[in-house]
Amino acid sequence: MTAILLAEVNVWLDVIFVVLEILVFCVFFIVHLGVSIPTGRFKKQWIDKQWPKHDWAPPALPKFIHFQHLTMMLLLGLSGMYIRFPFFEGGRTPMRYVHYVAMVIVGLNFFWRLWYAFFSKERDWKEFAVGKKDLATLLGVAAYYTYFSNNKPHVAKYNVMQKLAYDLFGVLMIVQGFTGLALLTQPFLFGTSPREILVGWWLGPLVGGTAMAGAWVRIVHYSVNWLFIIVTTVHIYLAAGIDLPCTLDFFGIKKLEVDPNAYHHDHDDDHADAPAHAPAVAEAD
């Protein structure tokens, strides 16, 4: 291990993730959107207004939760980036508090969502579960998004790539919560810090001590932060570009038109395998 390894790894991460984010942005907002013009999808959606139909509109509570979750995630990203790259004077302590408060709210959201998914009356965890049936449609969905096919296979409320993306968000939140807590060095329990409790005893001996473990955990925390930014960039593009009415409804700009027979008549888009009993379709990724 060279003495300058930490600096090199950190600088590489800065550069790679900035480049990756720019690439992802260009691939989706320029290339993908651009290709939608000759393939006719752009005209169908943005000019002919043929957006996906829905037999259900999200009620107020999920919309509120989504909106404040988005706000908190933005605050977490902003304050986290400030802590690493202080881009204005005198903000370290306030931004740390912003980070802590947003972290607590996002944590509460996350646990509430887990409860909602597994223990509430609605318990919708199955809508996010990826089964064999979903995996069988993976190539078909990928082909649709990459313009190799006009047929988007549907077997549930969310398509397989949506499910994978939403599940990935959940996994990333767990990793981010764990690594974030492991950055805290203040004595917490019997004089030991969260860092010592969470990583010091097992990762410390592997990498050269608890402080070193903290340095590597910070690298993971920072990387996951970028993964959130990148996945959210794609999410924003697909939400607005594939299902604008649903996005507008989510932000209370324009109410979504609900069609109870959304799945009972043909789509121009040839949504194959959409079962008659499918609860709803949320096209936005």
């Binding site: 003495a3 600088v11 005198g90 302590t93 810090s193 990498v207």
Partner: protein, 304 residues
């Protein structure tokens, strides 16, 4: 007759005791009164002031007659130099009760002042008369001036800082037992160290130390928090706080990396290199080099 003599003796004794007391008391009072004679500028800005009398020095008032004037400037080597002393800042400083001559010990008590003496160095070094311990400590460090040096070496020695260069002058703040003073000092890294050690100031920009410090983070270390202060030494000196042999204890000091001795050798070796080394690592990163060239090329196309 005896009675008259006794009364006369008592009266004489009283006069002997009271009169000098009244006289000296009057003198000490008048010494703090602002003199009625004011300094007037002569025709040339480089010529002496039209002033020729013995200045009162037992208070600041006498000096401030001239030095309290914001227009008190002189031309020196083509530059306008101000000799104004901010009385309010002085009054708020830890040395508010110290007389001017307490530090300006070579003051000639006459005006115009003798411009040939190195009065600035004298003033900046006068601290040693009261702060001997700190002065002796400074003598152990790399900022110690060698008086034996000659030629170019003497010039280099002359550039080394004296007490006042780092601590300031008339507005000097209290540091000991003063959180506000410590906070004010903490913000002053560039003035104290950076303006002489510009390269180290520039490359002190890693994420959580330098960049944060420069953005005003209260808990980010100032230069002296790692390097030490009066007896500051070269990092190559084994006694230096930032010598490899002391980094673990230096970084593990106080609230920094004091997690039950978790500032291990491995951590220190990696992390300490980043503190002044990130800029160099970044400059050598192939992707950074690549994009820098591209942006430079684009800049040239647009004539920037």
């Amino acid at each position: 007759m005896r009675t008259r003599l006794a009364i006369a003796a008592v009266f004489a004794a009283l006069m002997l005791a009271i009169v000098p007391g009244v006289a000296f008391g009057a003198q000490s009072t008048t010494s703090t009164v602002m003199p009625t004679t004011t300094a007037t500028r002569s025709v040339s800005p480089t010529a002496p002031y039209a002033l020729d009398f013995t200045l009162p020095t037992e208070s600041k008032a006498g000096c401030m007659v001239c030095h309290g004037d914001t227009n008190l400037t002189r031309l020196k080597a083509g530059k306008t130099v101000s000799f104004y002393v901010d009385g309010e800042a002085y009054a708020k400083s830890i040395h508010a009760k110290t007389l001017c001559v307490g530090c300006h010990i070579d003051f000639a008590y006459t005006a115009p002042h003798d411009g040939t003496s190195d009065w600035q160095s004298t003033a900046k070094l006068a601290c040693k008369n009261c702060h001997e311990k700190q002065f002796l400590s400074m003598g152990q460090g790399v900022h110690r001036r060698s008086v034996a040096a000659t030629g170019a070496a003497a010039l280099a020695e002359a550039k080394k800082p004296l007490c006042g260069d780092c601590h300031g002058g008339h507005d000097i703040t209290q540091i000991t037992d003063s959180p506000a003073g410590k906070a004010a000092l903490h913000e002053n890294g560039y003035q104290i160290c950076g303006r002489c050690h510009q390269d180290y100031w520039d490359n002190y920009d890693d994420y959580y130390h330098g960049a944060a410090y420069k953005a005003g983070a209260e808990d980010a270390p100032a230069c002296w928090d790692c390097h030490g202060w009066h007896d500051i030494r070269s990092s190559k000196d084994s006694a230096s706080l930032v010598n490899k042999s002391h980094l673990v204890e230096t970084c593990g000091t106080g609230d920094c990396h004091d997690q039950h001795g978790t500032a291990s050798d491995t951590f220190i070796q990696d992390a300490a290199q980043m503190i002044h080394g990130k800029r160099a690592v970044r400059a050598e990163n192939p992707l950074v080099v690549f994009f820098t060239r591209i942006f430079d090329g684009i800049g040239k196309i647009f004539g920037k």
